[in-house]
Symmetry: none
Subunit: 221 residues, 2 copies
Amino acid sequence: MKEKIYVHVADDHKILIEGIIAVINTDKEIEIKGYSLTGQEVIDWFDNKENSADVLILDITMPVLDGFQVLKHFKKKKIDQKVIILSSYDDLKIVQEVLSLGCKGYISKNNAGEHIVNAIKAVAQGEQYFSTDIQSMLLKSLSGQMVPQGEMPDKFLLDSLTERELDVLKLITKEYSTIEMADLMNLSTNTVETYRKSLLKKLNVKNAVGLAMYAVKNKIV
Amino acid sequence: MKEKIYVHVADDHKILIEGIIAVINTDKEIEIKGYSLTGQEVIDWFDNKENSADVLILDITMPVLDGFQVLKHFKKKKIDQKVIILSSYDDLKIVQEVLSLGCKGYISKNNAGEHIVNAIKAVAQGEQYFSTDIQSMLLKSLSGQMVPQGEMPDKFLLDSLTERELDVLKLITKEYSTIEMADLMNLSTNTVETYRKSLLKKLNVKNAVGLAMYAVKNKIV
DNA sequence: TTTCTTCTCACTGTTTTCAGTGAGTTCCTT
DNA sequence: AAGGAACTCACTGAAAACAGTGAGAAGAAA
């Protein structure tokens, strides 16, 4: 028999906590050790030396200190608490934010039931866990298929660039010189210069730095 | 009984292909349909209308058109071929590059054996698949935990920059030339050049683009 | 067939950046 | 008072980027 995994749950809706407890109780390896209804309660609970949990299930939106602030508290105090975010918002920026705050898992409430047990076990073993919809979102964002809300990439200009121009643009952002690019692409330096100048003109910037910044803004790199 | 999954393998080392075939043959659901030793062969094979495969296992480094170019070919021809990259390079940039080129899976050769069958099945079903080491690398990069090998942690570098150097760095990202900066800051061009060179040295990059990219990565701009 | 785009390359010149070295000033700290 | 860091400037030479113009080849589209 394996060691038990102890879990603390935090969400401002008690009915949801009860649901989670019900799901978790179906698994003999996992045991609930208390719950909290606000971020403040979470912090207080863990501040008490007598309390501890292998994994903390944490909601983002809570009154009196939200999930972010709880994570920030752990980070500030250098407490290496394993946390799984249970969120209703499938927003890339939120996911990235909590990841950078050291959380180890993220599951959306939509399909929490099917994921929560596996997530707890994975995180307890030191792995990371993301529900399938979050995973696919993360991968899309990585492969540049995602459009961050608010700032639309300049589709117009972007589409006006040819394949070769894009190749050169990418290499420029990697600090390649014209000679190096020509070498790598098996082209004449004159040709690479042509693409470089064409990029400057099309994107209406005045130097290579402008090209690089454009590439960054438009998620080409 | 499920439908068979047909797979084509491409790698310039025949011994590796044989190994993969051996592993795959242990699973009755999957069947090999040909192999290629160069990127050109892959393209030719798929260009032949009589040939097809549910999944293509593709090496990156190959003579006569590498994996990148094969992916580009599919993209250009708007062929929605499911591809799993089998690479010896666990480099974030490469992973991102092939992801943006539409590949659906990425496993490193280190632990290909344990992953390849699952990868094929997952991708065949339309999912994405990444071996655990690649996954953790991707997640680290997302949460900003990635520390580029060899380099000093960026906090130190960033702190080592003086006020004036930061001023110049910011202006560089705005496409200012040395003369323009000198004018704006009421300094000699020589002075601005000094800061510029100091930045290049401290941040260990080779040109202004490198400086700009550093500034972006470290949210200076 | 003609037109258009893309890709390729060349030539000439100017401007800017990069590299190395040296040095005087102020201000802060020990 | 001495040392160090930051700020300032100068000079030289090489390398790279930028600017403008022109043009042939291949392929797709009208």
